[in-house]
């Protein structure tokens, strides 16, 4: 669900972490970056090979200066935007008169236009999947671990397209934009979107870029749902569908977590029924709590335990002392919540979680996944992670079983990881090898001329 997607937030990242062991006086400890999930991955999972040399900065280690020419990076990238003036009919029955999509591309489209790959983002993702916007960026794009020269999605071989989905808050048309009919922000009036609406808008983007058929459509979590919907809605427009840590529909428990997150946002007094922008307010606290809830569920008990245990950030349990105790994990979660709530639109968060809840791949096929997939014509790769309990391996196995029953080509790997759902974003040697082995075959087909 894109739990670990780190949106770089220059403002809040300016606070430097104190040296280890230094107690922080109470007033100053409100926003203390302990570490990001990516960093916790580095310290809890042994990562061999070149991926450990990735250009992330570390909260516990001195920041590594970001260089544009760092190994395996697509370097400096510039987002592009296009406004589509052909109205888009939505699943909810309403129509968007026109809309803007922001996207990035990496690599070169070949002469046959057969090497294009679409990246579909997850709940809190966006178009900036790889590289950096400027040499000073502290962090690269959210999937820089897997997109770049020599990486599984090899930009020396593929033309990679990554967009911010409709309804997003990173440049594509969404609830924070102005409704042309009222001149005010859309807010809660922005149409509810479903996964298929994103897929249709992505198809328009493919048309714009002159891509008749994707070599692969790839996504993790909510992105994997988009990739599967592509396989059913546009069976002739993709050769491979890569679905990572995803599911054919959410479980009741999953919907329950999303509802709790939405309630945290809507019950914030600054939410103003979703019209907070008109009122000049922002339900930051509600969004931060929503993010904290989400974040806990994107990690595993084991992963959090290994990183934080019961370590204290301040205070002590000594007898006779009344000082308030703060655990490291508290400070970490608050940092995650605060930084997220300063960079993400609350209405977009509600919209994205609803799209997740509503998605049900086989609903219109008599609730029969085999019948649904019988419309697909591409090959599939499925990947899941052992400690992911929001998109558990069982969910991926259900997809694999349905595909095998439908007699479609499918491969499935279950990756050992302690990092929970976030694992799909983080360095992991086996994951990298599985992904690279499969994508290598996809790339080889492209140079053979494209069509199967």
């Amino acid at each position: 669900m894109g739990g670990g997607i780190c949106i770089s937030l220059p403002g809040s990242l300016k606070l430097a972490a104190p040296p280890p062991g230094v107690a922080i006086p109470a007033p100053a400890r409100r926003v203390v970056p302990v570490c990001s999930p990516s960093e916790s991955a580095l310290s809890t999972e042994k990562i061999s090979s070149s991926l450990s040399a990735r250009p992330h900065d570390g909260g516990d280690a001195p920041a590594v200066p970001a260089t544009a020419a760092s190994e395996g990076s697509v370097g400096i990238v510039v987002p592009q935007r296009h406004t589509f003036s052909e109205p888009l009919e939505l699943a909810c029955g309403r129509t968007l008169r026109d809309y803007t999509l922001v996207y990035e591309t990496y690599g070169e489209l070949n002469a046959e236009r057969s090497n294009a790959v679409l990246i579909c983002h997850a709940l809190s993702g966006h178009h900036h999947a790889a590289g950096r916007h400027s040499p000073d960026d502290k962090r690269p794009g959210w999937w820089d671990n897997y997109i770049g020269p020599g990486k599984p999605i090899d930009t020396d071989r593929f033309f990679v397209v990554s967009l911010n989905n409709l309804g997003g808050c990173h440049g594509s048309t969404g609830p924070a934009d102005t409704n042309p009919e009222t001149g005010k922000p859309w807010g809660p009036d922005f149409p509810m979107l479903r996964v298929r609406d994103w897929v249709h808008s992505q198809a328009r983007l493919a048309d714009l870029l002159g891509i008749d058929q994707w070599a692969a459509v790839i996504g993790g979590s909510l992105g994997g749902m988009q990739a599967m919907r592509w396989a059913l809605e546009y069976p002739d427009r993709l050769r491979h569908c890569v679905v990572i840590a995803s599911a054919m529909k959410l479980s009741a428990q999953n919907i329950a977590f999303n509802e709790t997150a939405r309630q945290a946002i809507t019950s914030d007094p600054d939410f103003c029924g979703g019209r907070y922008l008109e009122q000049g307010r922002l339900p930051r606290r509600g969004l931060a709590v929503a993010r904290m809830i989400g974040h806990i569920t994107y990690l595993s008990d084991d992963g959090l335990g290994r990183k934080f245990g019961r370590e204290l950030r301040s205070g002590s349990f000594r007898l006779g002392e009344e000082e308030e105790v703060e655990f490291q994990v508290q400070s970490y979660l608050r940092y995650q919540g605060d930084s997220f709530s300063g960079s993400f639109d609350p209405n977009t968060y509600i919209l994205m979680t609803r799209a997740l809840d509503y998605f049900d791949l086989a609903r219109e096929y008599g609730d029969d996944p085999v019948a649904a997939f019988s419309h697909a014509r591409c090959r599939f790769l499925l990947v899941s992670f052992t400690s992911d309990w929001r998109f558990a391996p069982e969910r991926s196995r259900e997809i694999a079983d349905a595909l095998m029953h439908a007699n479609l080509p499918v491969s499935y790997a279950e990756i050992e990881s302690a990092m929970g759902h976030d694992a799909f974003l983080l360095p992991n040697e086996r994951y990298r090898r599985v992904f690279a082995a499969y994508m290598n075959g996809v790339a080889a087909e492209c140079s053979d001329g494209g069509d199967r």
Binding site: L381, R397, A400, D401, M404, H405, N407, P409, V410, S411, Y412, A413, E414, R430, R433, V434, A437, Y438, N440, G441
Partner: protein, 196 residues
């Protein structure tokens, strides 16, 4: 090319649907796809072998055979194949039963523990056989359920499984010369073709 693969290939119908249990590096499925246009999947749990399958473009699904084939419907494959994995299973007889439920037919190959080398090793040294074919010590071997041809024949009889074909192969010279006379003594690998 493994010698048992040639025999298996002859028993597989062109354009049929095949499930390969413990498919290893995917060599058999790749060969059957190329020569017999079969469609199918391999089940495997070893990460390195799964990667080899992905590199070859063979469909591979990570699944532990010891947890059964409950995710496959009755008769959903023409043939279910299992080469050199029977002896690694916790309950081999249940897996064969499952193979015959999921497939119309099944093909099973396994190393013959009754082969003269194994018998000689045990008789002469008094220790569990270690050979180039079965290079493990007793404590670290993945092969936990050895049987001989005769043992497997008995299992088929007890379960009323029909043996369509039975063949033994051997790659060594004495094995090749005598395997047809005394298969349980000279055959290295048994290949059974079964149906319900």
């Amino acid at each position: 090319m493994r010698v048992d693969f040639d025999v298996i290939q002859e028993w597989i119908e062109p354009r049929s649907r095949v499930l390969d249990l413990g498919c290893g590096d995917g060599a058999l499925l790749e060969m059957l796809g190329r020569n017999k246009q079969v469609s199918g999947y391999g089940l495997e749990i070893d990460p390195a072998r799964i990667e080899r399958c992905l590199e070859r473009g063979v469909n591979v699904v990570e699944q532990n055979l010891d947890q059964g084939l409950g995710n496959f419907a009755d008769g959903s494959f023409d043939t279910v194949v299992m080469t050199q994995a029977l002896q690694t299973l916790r309950q081999p007889h249940l897996v064969v039963r499952e193979m015959l439920r999921v497939g119309r037919e099944c093909i099973i190959t396994f190393p013959n523990f009754g082969q003269w080398k194994a018998r000689w090793h045990l008789a002469a040294s008094g220790r569990m056989p270690v050979s180039d074919l079965l290079p493990y010590e007793w404590y670290d071997t993945p092969n936990i359920h050895f049987c001989t041809f005769r043992d497997f024949d008995l299992l088929c009889r007890e379960n009323d499984w029909t043996i369509l074909h039975r063949q033994v192969v051997s790659e060594t010279l004495p094995g090749r010369a005598f395997k047809d006379f005394l298969p349980n003594l000279f055959g290295e690998t048994a290949i059974y073709h079964l149906t319900r």
